[in-house]
Amino acid sequence: MIPELGHYALVLALVMALAQASLPMIGAARGIRPWMQLAKPAALAQFAFVAFAFLALMNAFATSDFSVAIVTQHSHSQQPLIYKLSGTWGNHEGSLLLWVLILTIFGGLVALFGENLPPRLKARTLAIQAMISIGFLLFMLLTSNPFARLDPAPLEGEELNPLLQDPGLAMHPPMLYLGYVGFSIVFSFAVAALIDGKVDAAWARWVRPWCLLSWTFLTGGIVLGSWWAYNELGWGGWWFWDPVENASFMPWLIGTALLHSALVVEKRDALKSWTILLSILTFGFSLLGTFLVRSGIITSVHAFAQDPTRGVFILALLTIAIGAPLTLYALRAPTLRGGGLFAPLSREGALVMNNLLLATMAATVLLGTLYPLLLDLTTGGTVSVGMPFYAATFIPLALPLLLLMAIGPFLGWKRGDVKGALQRLIAAAIAALGAAIIAIWMKTGGSLLAPLGLFAGVWLLVGTAIEFMERVRLFDRSAARILTRMRHTPRAAYGMSLAHFGLAIAVIGMTGAAAWKTENIKVLRPGESLSLQGYEFKLDKVGGVRGENYLADQAHFIVSSGGNVIANLYPERRQYLVQPMPTTEAAIRSTPLADLYAVIGEPDGKGGWTVRIYHEPLVSWIWFGALIMVAGGLTSLSDRRYRVGAPVRAGATQTAKA
């Protein structure tokens, strides 16, 4: 009964979305206030219905209701509760429902907290948001009904994919979707502004918190996915340039560009049409990712039996959702004129360079992701685009961006003093050079990656620190004055410093992990040992252990360095209830300097076990840095100026001290 109610709620949500998409839009065009005001209750009702449907599905998973088809396919009665719940979005239909839920959450939030928005803009924004909902609700109801029943219901389910039974992955999709789908509201704001024909500083300020919120979630989501891959896949990697990873990385790159270009709109009344374009494209890339993953157009068909109608449906959705706004853009954008002089050597000039590089990076990832497909379609040829391609194209674009990131914040709006900025960055340059020299000394004859990466990372780290210290004039003799200045520094400025600082740390981590990772592999019998980077891994024993829904062979390694035992590692090789393939559970000892990572493989049948160990310097800096970036996003978001009631169109001139 509950699943049917859930299904019915989706139909009602569709009805609400239809009302929300049409009446307020017409009302805004004709100036009919009550029609415009309908957007708010409609958005809230739509959210309520979708939320009900989501809870209904979650309930089916929690109670292992195997009469619901996707519960049977992706759950098992003996699974721990957390993985029963996360199974709700561990499949195509359920994750689509999560998608729509987040779409309506953002619509509902704007409806609730957008009291200060001009009524027309608000009505149009919510109407556009509802149009996206209509597309996805139709997609779900017509091709991917999450509540489809099985009759007779099987007695037991087929279990959630063991690789997904990991706390990191339980949280990864919701977080990622909050980011990815969150950009839908920015998109809606942009399209509404195009219809309105008006983009100004106030618009940029209204959009900024939504953009920041989505960016923060997206950053967190991508990193959770990366962390999960590192922990769960058992080969010590954290980024593979896989098409699906790229699908989430492209909106991040464009969204980051958007976050910065919107600042220029806000402060300098320029880059308007470009910012609108980025707003459309960020969500466009989210839709592209959805299409690539769910249509089966690039992933392997071996295990993902695809319903071709789904691919066609999403492609149609993508075409309308991106094609229509871009057509409108081609018509309207030329009329959006910015004002004011624009000097290349200024804060806004630096932000333009930032956008140029980020957009090119996104184009590079797009080209690399789609090239195999495009080549196959045009000539039938095959090609693989992997790490070496991105190392040769992406990194050369990232390095200047990192260098620029330290300089930009020193430059003033309108006219920046580049020479002065560079002078203040001398300490950063010295520190960076020192790090690069250490990198060369540590690995003679190695590639340029380590010294260049460390140079950029340390430069940005120290540069950001200097900028912050100068802002509050940390070396003032009066502590009280420092505190006053710290209090008066806007949260947004703290946010920027934190985010840049976090990225610097993550870059140092990526460089270390990519350049200095080492590994060793051997068949060991209990009592034998294997060494790597001066660490001795002794296999003490391998024993059987029983988990809640799996059996495992658990190895015990005694890790010692210079004769002292420093860690005990217990990697496992798990066999879950239903799924035939064993999974590996890596054991990791993490320290700020390096991770020790051990995996155990198949027994050789002669009393030995294949053992693989990795030494990954600085890898934990990646997660730590990303955490700081997320903290930066949240700090910026808490800035008073973005709160309810703060932005008012004419009064939008109060400038940050930034």
Partner: protein, 178 residues
Amino acid sequence: MRRLLFLLPILIVAALVAAFWRGLDPARDPSALPSALVGKAAPAVDLPGLAEGAPRLNLAAFKGKLIAVNFFASWCLPCRAEHPFLKQLTAEFGVPVIGIAWKDKPAASRAFLAELGDPYAATGADENGRTGIDFGITGVPETFLVDQNGIVRYRLAGPVTPDGLQNALAPAITEARK
């Protein structure tokens, strides 16, 4: 000029959508890896015979005949499924099938053939799998059509099915016999 610039995004998107539309063709298998060997000489095969006391398997012995080279293994389930159609390939199209047991213990392969019947004109044991890599296989089963001059004409990855036999192999055989 300035107007054209604003048209650029929609034009790029239109081109991509057109490409995706073609890519969604249900007949297209995104994971299929076309063989680089088609149109080139088949690699030399010189393997121990599979049957006990059988002579070594050498493809050169079949020069002048259109043959099919089929890689199989006793541990491979689809190989079981395609078994009857291999017989059909010889019976209906007159193409002798050479079986190569890939990465399989000869005793196990022999038992497999004893159980299901032996559809092959000749068999060889590729225990270390090197001949398979010479042919560029990605797994078993795979079937290659090698013409009278020893040129690879067609490669079928995966099991031979009635559909594959009629719509893929049959035209390739006709083409090769021209």
